[in-house]
């Protein structure tokens, strides 16, 4: 690619583009301290994991297959007991809480939708969590329909689950957790198997509830685009160890970490290097911030004039 003509303008843009605003919330939502876990004795899966996720943050957890990401989410929800270490929710140790009690605060969308779906009909499945909490019929119906709309499932509300594709089932499982309004939302590969349109819709919705209602969101993902675009912070796990906890841009531009966790370096980074920008990761960060702003503007435009909805999504 010939870049010569663009080098100077790009450098100029970099220098004037806004810096990303740092969030300075300081109330801890989910804190993990020195966590160790193994399924089989002598074969540690997670070692010395520690991080502190603040209220209202949107964080991604990345790492190659088998790194221990899903295991970590299961530990947080109490499916397994850690060998060592503590998990704190709103500053309180969750060790004495049962799965059900943790479930009142933490919503987990598991990796495989088949493991979450137990009712034959979509409506029943999404309503399940509300039904067991004794939410009145009318309110339940409203909330379920609303959530189904967000997840693009409203037309299917009376369908049996068995008639859905994988991507649709995944959305059913997301809907069935979203409907319960958890404080902390953990999504294990929310966008796996989603087409671009539904991907965008779900992610925009998550961003929205994150910003407007302060719901803390943790996403386990293999999607570097998602990590860069939608989250402000990424935790990298490789072979059971936490190897980085930083902004996505800085992680993706750190060759050592990217190699260790099999992450794909972003092409933006190469672009910055090629254009001799001194601080390539800062460049990536500003670029993403700029893109986000643009997207926001587009969405605001749509909100004023809904006829444009096709323009942004397609």
């Amino acid at each position: 690619m010939k870049l010569n003509n663009y080098k100077a303008p790009l450098r100029e843009w970099f220098n004037q583009a806004d810096r990303k605003k740092e969030k300075d919330e300081s109330v801890s939502a989910l804190k993990v301290e020195d966590l160790y876990f193994s399924y089989v004795e002598g074969k540690p899966i997670l070692q010395h994991i520690h991080f502190d996720i603040k209220k209202g943050e949107m964080v991604s957890i990345v790492g190659k297959n088998g790194a221990g990401k899903s295991t970590l989410s299961n530990l947080i929800c109490g499916f397994y007991k850690p060998v060592k270490g503590r998990i704190l929710l709103n500053g309180e140790d969750v060790a004495p809480l049962s799965i059900k009690e943790r479930g009142e605060k933490i919503g987990l969308v598991m990796q495989s939708p088949n493991q979450m779906i137990s009712k034959p009909m979509i409506y029943e499945e999404v309503a399940l969590g509300l039904a067991v909490r004794g939410v009145p019929e009318k309110e339940m119906k409203e909330r379920v329909y609303e959530t189904l709309k967000i997840c693009g499932l409203y037309p299917f509300r009376n369908w049996p689950v068995s008639a859905l594709s994988f991507g649709q089932k995944k959305r059913v499982s997301i809907a069935s957790i979203l409907v319960m309004n958890p404080e902390v939302l953990i999504l294990d590969e929310p966008t796996a198997g989603q087409d671009y349109r539904h991907y965008t819709e779900i992610m925009e919705f998550l961003k929205d509830i994150n910003e407007n209602f302060g719901i803390t969101i943790i996403m386990i993902t293999h999607d570097m685009h998602l990590m860069l675009e939608y989250t402000d912070r990424a935790i990298v796990i490789a072979d059971g160890h936490l190897i980085a906890d930083d902004t996505p841009a800085r992680i993706l531009t750190n060759e050592q970490i990217a190699d260790k966790a099999y992450l794909k370096k972003t092409s933006l980074y190469d672009l910055a290097v090629n254009c001799q920008i001194d601080n390539p990761s800062e460049f990536v960060e500003r670029f993403i911030a700029y893109e986000r702003q643009q997207r926001k503007l587009r969405i605001e435009k749509v909100k004023e004039n809904p006829a444009h909805v096709k323009d942004i999504i397609l």
């Binding site: 299961n74 929800c77 499916f79 059900k100 479930g103 919503g107 987990l108 495989s112 493991q115 137990s118």
Partner: protein
């Protein structure tokens, strides 16, 4: 975390036996246990099963929960026998020693108690051997060995897949259960017994259906890869029958013959202490 009723590698001579040997033992053992009502032989068999169970180093946690389920069935079975044929015992043994009267046509007789005791013992001759067979037999080796003794590999493979899926289905069950609990359905000891049964059933049925679906998918996938196209295939888990295998089979056959001859020597399946 230990998987229930699935193969676990351990170093005992029972684990090293070929799957076929264990199958022959298991089948003959069941035949004898079903045919005979001779209490002496049944007791001998219980003792022997427990002994084998012990040396196979099977742990309680591998089988405990299934054992409890079997016990529920057993109780159900025993009560049902009494309910439907309270005089079966007297009928068999020819005497009628009433211990006490219950109601209507129901008398508690010594003969009935003895008869039902035999039924209970029968259960206990089989249970440890089933457990032992399942947890000491490597599914892949089993399929290979069955083929070695001339059984079509399709059959062997079907059985081995069924065995192999036991842990998978269990893992699936646990995950579904966790997901349900996280959504607010209490399934631990805190919930009432009836509720627990209800919510467990609501998981098990979908699980059975999805497993059925999977059988279909797996068999299609295997066919695509050419499974069943040729009469033969290669195995890498096959075990040749060794000295211990022949000894075990020999012992089992002799035991079965002796036990049956002994049982039927007086012309009846029942051992009658009443006359």
């Amino acid at each position: 975390m230990s998987k229930i009723l699935s193969y676990e590698e351990k170093d005992t001579w029972i684990h090293q036996l070929s799957g076929v040997t264990k199958l022959i033992f298991f089948l003959l053992w069941c035949v004898v246990s079903m045919m005979t009502y001779d209490t002496r032989i049944l007791i001998l068999m219980v003792v022997f099963s427990l002994f084998v169970f012990k040396i196979s180093k099977t742990q309680w946690k591998q089988v405990g929960s299934v054992f409890k389920v079997v016990m529920v069935f057993l109780i159900f079975n025993v009560v049902a026998i009494f309910f439907f044929s309270p005089d079966q015992g007297s009928h068999i043994y020819g005497t009628r020693t009433v211990l006490f009267h219950i109601a209507g046509r129901y008398d508690m007789t010594l003969e009935q108690l003895f008869y039902e005791l035999n039924v209970v013992i029968k259960y206990f001759t089989i249970i440890p051997t089933v457990f032992m067979f399942l947890v000491t037999t490597n599914p892949s080796e089993f399929a290979a060995s069955m083929n070695k003794v001339g059984i079509s590999y399709n059959v062997g493979y079907a059985i081995s897949i069924a065995l192999r899926y036991i842990p998978d289905v269990q893992g699936e069950f646990t995950k579904i259960k966790h997901a349900q609990e996280a959504r607010g359905i209490e399934m631990s000891g805190k919930a009432s017994f009836l509720n627990r049964i209800k919510s467990t059933a609501s998981i098990i049925f979908p699980l059975i259906f999805s497993s059925m679906d999977r059988i279909d998918t797996v068999s299609n996938a295997m066919e695509l890869r050419g499974f069943g196209k040729h009469k033969k295939r290669t195995w890498y888990m096959a075990k040749k029958l060794k000295r211990n295998d022949y000894l075990t089979i020999g012992f089992t056959v002799i035991f079965a013959i002796v036990a049956l001859v002994f049982t039927f020597a007086d012309g009846s399946r029942f051992y009658n202490p009443f006359v």
